[in-house]
Amino acid sequence: MFVYILKRVLATIPVMLIVAIFVFLLLRLTPGDPAAILAGDAATPAQLDRIRERLGLNDPLLTQFFTWMGQLARGDLGVSLLSNTSVAGMVADRLGPTINIALMTIVISVALAVPMGVIAAWRHRTWVDFLVMSFSVLGFSVPVFVIGYILIQIFAIELRWVPVQGYKDPSEGFGAFFSRAILPSLTLATIYIALIARMTRASMLEVLGEDYIRTARAKGVRENVVLFRHALRNAAVPILTIIGTGFALLISGVVVTESVFNIPGIGRLTVDAILARDYPVIQAMILLTAGIYVFVNLLVDVSYSLFDPRIRY
């Protein structure tokens, strides 16, 4: 087990290294002068020089790369071109809202989607199944921000149950936090629920046809025990996998949702940085989000054996 985890951790190193090389080359390989791309059309030669100086664009490519990697190894993410503050500090300031909303989204999604998928498979080819499948196809077809605006229209403007936009930290009172975080979380959860419910249903359908399910039913085990203890545990591996790979969707969704609901998280930070071509921030954010994705999928891989004791490393 320990050896397996160690191997998995080591396997993430080349992946992250290639992400780093890719992020590094993204700007340098774009046709045109990198400094001019970053500064925009109206830049003066002096401004261009300043940017070249700041990013070390005058050095040879390899020197630039190793300087950057050296800084990364020391935990130095660089300095923003716009605000002149350290990127690490900017990220730390903005991390809280994003983590809170993401956690809430995952809890809502798993709590709703897994039972939905189980029930749809249990009542296969009935109206319940049809309803769940319709929802999951719909969830994939409507843009995240449209869902956000529909929820705002219904719950914030028509019913006036919650504020339209904004964010409050849980430390300012749980009610204040919850009323502002619930709509973004639901918005974000829609596509995640669609994904997980669909996979749960498919995986459960496969398992429910097995002999041991028939045996369990024949010896009189209660139906909910059959479903959730016998079937779901055996169906867990593909569901876990999709929760992990779906995390990329969640990160992308965070970026959009934070813009719709005006939440000062890292999603907004990233979009603002990209649109302002603040390259040190862009580099750091792509690296960070890729790192989170790789880490979550590492956790998922390792957790397989918790759910399915047949998997031994």
């Binding site: 080349p14 992946v15 992250m16 290639i18 992400v19 890719f22 992020v23 993204l26 700007l27 774009t30 046709p31 791309i37 498979a121 296969h124 080819r125 196809v137 719909l138 994939f140 077809s141 409507v142 843009p143 995240v144 921000f145 449209v146 605006y149 705002i152 229209q153 403007i157 249903r201 498919a202 359908l205 496969e206 990329a248 990160i251 992308s252 970026v255 959009v256 813009s259 990233t270 979009v271 990209i274 649109l275 071509r277 862009i282 954010m285 792509i286 989000t289 890729a290 994705y293 790789v294």
Partner: protein, 295 residues
Amino acid sequence: MTEFPHARRSAFQVLTGLFSLPPGARVGIGPVIAAAILVIIVLASVMAPLYVPYDPLAMNAMARLKPPSEEFLLGTDPYGRDTFSRVMTGGRVSLLIGVGAALVSVTVGLFIGLVAGFFRAADSVIMRIMDSLMAIPAILLAIALVALNGPSLGSVIIAITVPEIPRVVRLVRSVVLSAREEPYVEAAIALGSSMPKILIQHLMPNTLAPLIVQGTYICASAILIEAILSFLGAGVSTEIPTWGNIMAEGRTYFQIKPGLIFWPGLLLSLCILAINLLGDTARDLLDPRMKKREG
């Protein structure tokens, strides 16, 4: 030289063979409705310039934010442009981006996937690069590419394509890996067929069915991503209306005029829904094993 009937079919025969229903299979009413909706939306969008009442770019300061009326079917936007004309014309570009992104990513992915699946030496390097690309969130990569390359139609298509390519490569590679163990491929290698011939004539036809399915999904997701890019301010410039940038411009006026988001959003969602449903149907028809698993 020995003849292999499997490899002698023309591309056309392979294609028609794919979509002939297996005996006993039937297509429900759902896919038929989906196909009808899609055909209507595509025709209405492609022919938009022939029937829309106004120039989608013509501003009219006298008619700003008008409600729907006989004069302006869906009302007007903050610049006095006719929403109906804009939404119908916008569909053309959105669909073009969808189809364009699907074609480019399938073509590039097919090529890389064939190489990765067939040449052991290239495989591990290519797959590590693909794993890394998949670790970068698609939206972030796409907006970064648009921000660096400018908001032209081509750069938006490329930005949407790049994150999709690894998925195609993985698919093609897995098909090639299993197909190359088949006796007819081993026979072809033993008989000394040239490498390109084995790749194109023996291995490529196997990838056709899954690629058609994957292509429809990519088309749907590209239309969706275009909308999100526009919404985030990294889409096609607003001189070319798309469903995405009409919605993006409408967001400031959302509370007074929800129609600016609602109508393009509705058409876009219907369109993606229809494409996804057709993709599911094609998958069930082309791959009976999936059918069994999904019920």
